[in-house]
Symmetry: none
Subunit: 140 residues, 2 copies
């Protein structure tokens, strides 16, 4: 994810909409020379700036972002950005609990249940601290 590439995308998008560096610049509130640096990859672009640019060019921010192997954007259970319905429900009801002790207890209960899996019932193993989630689509 390098600056040069993003800069290129910006430049292309800008030309597509028929804006000059100058026009875009004053829309996002910087000098046009600065826009130049964005496009050529000299300056690093912050998220908020990119957001402004995307808005000025009528494009989604995600249009400039690319995860490696962009296939997993929709799936990804191991990513909180998209909470599943189950998880939302869980959270919702957990939140409704007014008694702090109950919440606390419930949490440890869930922890306990979660800690159960992967443990072989036969052999007595040392408690594994935190398990790495397995069977998950790795992002990197």
């Amino acid at each position: 994810m390098d600056r040069k590439h993003i800069g290129n995308l910006i430049r292309i998008a800008r030309k597509m909409t028929g804006l000059s560096q100058m026009k875009l610049a004053e829309e996002i509130g910087v000098s046009y020379q600065q826009v130049q640096k964005y496009e050529t990859g000299v300056s690093e672009i912050s998220i908020s700036r990119l957001s402004q640019i995307a808005q000025a060019l009528n494009m989604p921010v995600s249009g400039f972002i690319f995860d490696k192997e962009k296939t997993m954007v929709c799936e990804s259970p191991g990513f909180y950005g998209a909470l599943s319905d189950d998880e939302i429900e869980l959270l919702k009801h957990f939140r409704s609990l007014k008694n702090k002790k109950v919440k606390e207890g419930l949490l440890t209960a869930v922890k306990g249940i979660a800690g159960l899996q992967g443990k072989r019932p036969k052999k007595k193993t040392k408690p594994r601290s935190i398990r790495q989630r397995e069977g998950e689509t790795r992002v990197s």
Copy 2:
């Protein structure tokens, strides 16, 4: 698209994966104080940095980006922004559950517990399906 919000997302994601500020910091090659600034919204985060962070946390970059009003999946804006440590923990362990049936059962259990409160123990009432929570900030 403000820094504070993105910072929150990062913090939550970090805790979900069980990393300390320090660990994350050395993974992306900055001081942990700097990570702090990212999370609290003091420092602006560049795209490349966000990319590094996302990678370190095994998440797609797009998980931290949100186009306006297209606030991914979950309806309520600022939903994750306000996840407490407890809730993060809860979610984390709930996610670790591989068995679908178990998750399902656990969810109904939590629902049941949540449904308990507000019920008068004295009178034997007909099972009220789902109770409406009172005086609570609605989630959905």
